[in-house]
């Protein structure tokens, strides 16, 4: 290769950089970056707190939401997006809603959140499990901003965590699966073996076993929140193993529901109502209804009452508050099954029934929750590092 020609182009590239910086320099002053409340550097913002209010999370002009996937994924991110819509309806007049989809669960999330803070956000919803540590890191730099994380089990000075006890409806959908399955073999397609997912697998299995003691749940992990090809292959693998009801803990739920329908087996949904996707095989599912919780969190923060509030902690709510719901039943679900499930749901609402009442035994038969014991939700999450008896499949080590 000729160095001569290279050096010419090389110089023109250098010139190009110069041109670009020039362009940038011209454009920069014209940008609306110097909004009155956009501090140039964080330490300044920490010390020279605006006179309006000193409570963390107040005095902002925006609310930021970060999602790990696209807003229309028929799943986790769609549910969270709808929650952000509810916040927009209620607070959109005074606070701008900033959203970022497909935010990776690594340091890039920090960059996105920093950007939102630059745009005036004093409240940030970090909605995916892996956004927790990035949020904690950003929070350290911005003590005046409140971060709320969806699903985490950590809590720091200005980071709170909220979630719903989705395992309640998951248990009920397990009843539907156990009743409707002909083979007694159920399948669960899971992304990562984290506490939330293990709780769901266990709840689903316990629900199925409550109506069919011989029911088993075969679990496969995809190590990805949303990889449609892997999801499809997982459905086929489970079908080959004799499974006739498939459920999932993934972010995007559509592929699995559709693939199950095509394979002629039944499916139990997750995150959102997928019944239109599977007119034949849809049984029911568990879904989120974040709107009220999100709005209440925002209200608490903008009122300056976040510190010491229930959200300034590891906060969980469930059926009673309406954050989790059972999805509509499919056409194939018979009335007696519906009644059975609705009755069970009522006992949960009344606080008379907790599916994780001991004795709960793990795969090896070891008692993990002693006879008659009920753990509180946070403790239950922390201690669920096992799969219950009747689950086929090993936890990846």
């Amino acid at each position: 290769m000729s160095m001569q020609q290279l050096s010419i182009s090389r110089r023109s590239v250098l010139v190009g950089f110069a041109a670009m910086s020039l362009l940038a320099a011209c454009a920069a002053p014209a940008t609306p970056t110097k909004a009155p409340d956009a501090p140039a550097a964080a330490p300044a913002s920490a010390t020279t707190a605006p006179a309006v209010a000193s409570a963390p999370g107040t005095g902002g002009t925006a609310i930021g939401f970060i999602f790990v996937g696209p807003k229309d994924d028929y799943g986790y991110n769609q549910a969270a997006y709808l929650g952000s819509k509810a916040v927009e309806d209620k607070f959109g007049k005074n606070l701008k809603i900033l959203r970022a989809e497909n935010v990776p669960e690594n340091e890039e999330a920090e960059r996105v959140m920093e950007n939102m803070i630059q745009q005036g956000a004093k409240i940030i919803f970090a909605t995916s499990y892996g956004h927790l540590d990035p949020a904690i890191n950003v929070a350290k730099r911005h003590p005046d901003v409140v971060f709320v994380h969806q699903g985490g089990a950590k809590h720091t000075a200005n980071v709170g965590a909220y979630f719903g006890t989705i395992w309640q409806p998951v248990y009920l959908s397990g009843i539907a699966a156990g009743k409707m399955s002909k083979t007694g073999k159920l399948g669960y397609i899971v992304a990562f073996p984290i506490p939330q997912t293990l709780l769901n697998i266990n709840a689903f299995t316990l629900g199925a076993q409550s109506v069919n003691p011989n029911a088993t749940t075969t679990v496969v992990f995809t190590a990805n929140w949303c990889d449609p090809a892997k999801q499809t292959e997982a459905v086929k693998t489970l079908v080959a193993a004799g499974v006739d009801v498939v459920t999932q803990h993934q972010d995007c739920a559509k592929t699995i529901v559709e693939a199950s329908e095509r394979a002629g087996i039944m499916s139990v949904g997750y995150h959102a109502d997928g019944s239109p996707l599977a007119p034949k095989g849809w049984l029911t599912g568990s879904q989120w209804n974040w709107g009220n919780l999100y709005s209440d969190i925002v209200q608490t923060i903008v009122d300056g009452k976040w510190v010491g509030s229930k959200y300034d902690a590891i906060y969980r709510e469930g059926f009673k508050e309406g954050v989790v719901e059972l999805s509509p039943f499919g056409a194939s679900v018979t009335d007696d099954v519906k009644k059975l499930i609705n009755d069970k749901k009522q006992t949960m609402l009344d606080g008379k029934f907790n599916p994780f009442t001991g004795p709960i035994k793990d795969q090896d038969g070891k008692v993990r929750i002693a006879d008659g014991v009920q753990l509180d939700t946070v403790k239950l999450e922390a201690e669920t590092t096992y799969l219950v008896q009747g689950v086929v499949g090993a936890l990846p080590k």
Binding site: M1, G69, P70, D72, D73, Y74, Q78, N102, G187, T218, V219, V220, F221, A223, C226, D227, P228, A229, K230, Q231, T232, E233, A234, K236, T237, L238, A240, A241, C252, K254, T255, E258, A259, R262, L277, V392, G393, A394, L395, P396, K397
Partner: protein
């Protein structure tokens, strides 16, 4: 269980096989197109979008093929006309495909399509063991297999195949035969893009019936690596692609069986095998690699073979 793994290997291997076959032809012409991944992505999106819009999966696959082809022309222009560095150009084209599909793909995420469904070949599909593995695939999977044979025949039994190989080996030979090496290269690159586009469309229209940003997840770049494993042979590309698919299917099957095997070690198998093949077989079959490629893969290596 074995039959479900074989069936899975074919399913998961088919999209890669399409791209791999296309890249075999590209590399036979003496070029390496890492932009294959980008062609797969635009193929997946175009395939899905057109299927969703028209209701015809056939039109979708054709659209995917065209989209893949169009993107590969960007590579062709830079690599052939401008003689830009091919590896860098390929990566840039990959980036372009990634951006374009992110840009236009968002509104298709929640759409539903009736794509291409598996066939159920009478009698044959009920044969125990082989039935489910070989006779319950969709028509595209068979097409991929047929293409491999057709391309092999093309390469070794037709004059045009000879011209293609000559272009990749020693362009003077093709030139002396009255063929323009650049035209041959253009044709090869376009074909490679087309096949990658079909592979992408297979992912969205036949395999998952869904579109999601970045859904090819590296399969196009894998295809380029598998071409080397396949020693630039269309028939061996079949084996290479199914091996890749098999590693994916095996992970899930083992899990469903309650076996705790590391998916990471399993996934390494195709790449380590490729290195092993290069190391062992490559020593006495060094001439398998098209001469022209040696320039792409580093000018120094061509010299040091002597």
């Amino acid at each position: 269980m074995l039959e479900s793994i074989i069936a899975g290997a074919i399913r998961a291997g088919t999209p890669v096989l399409f791209a791999c076959l296309g890249e075999v032809i590209v590399e036979r012409a003496g070029l390496v197109n890492l932009g294959t991944e980008g062609s797969m992505l635009v193929g997946a999106l175009a395939g899905f979008a057109i299927t969703a819009g028209t209701g015809s999966a056939l039109l979708g696959v054709i659209a995917g093929a065209l989209a893949g082809l169009l993107l590969s022309l960007v590579f062709g222009y830079l690599a052939i006309q401008r003689r830009a560095n091919q590896l860098a150009t390929g990566l840039a084209v990959l980036t372009l495909g990634n951006g374009i599909t992110a840009f236009f793909g968002r509104s298709f995420v929640n759409q539903q399509i009736h794509g291409i469904n598996p066939l159920h070949i009478p009698i044959l599909s009920d044969i125990p063991f082989v039935g489910a593995a070989f006779f319950q695939q969709d028509i595209m999977a068979y097409l991929a297999g047929i293409m491999a044979v057709v391309l092999w025949l093309f390469l070794y039994r037709t004059r045009w195949g000879l011209v293609l190989r000559a272009t990749g080996e020693r362009e003077e030979v093709a030139y002396a035969g009255g063929y323009s090496p650049n035209r041959v290269r253009w044709a090869a690159v376009a074909f490679g893009g087309l096949m990658a586009g079909v592979g992408g469309a297979y992912l969205s229209v036949a395999y998952t019936l869904n579109w999601i940003e970045g859904m090819t997840a590296g399969r196009g770049v894998v295809a380029v690596a598998l071409v080397i494993f396949a020693s630039w042979s269309p028939l061996q590309a079949v084996f290479a692609s199914y091996l890749f698919g098999g590693a994916q299917a095996l992970q899930l099957s083992l899990q469903a069986d309650g076996v705790d095997a590391s998916p990471f070690l399993l996934s390494m198998v195709p790449y380590l095998l490729t290195l092993a093949v290069l190391l062992v077989v490559g020593r006495w079959r060094r001439n398998v690699m098209p001469e022209g490629l040696k320039a792409v893969f580093g000018s120094a290596s061509a010299r040091s073979v002597a």
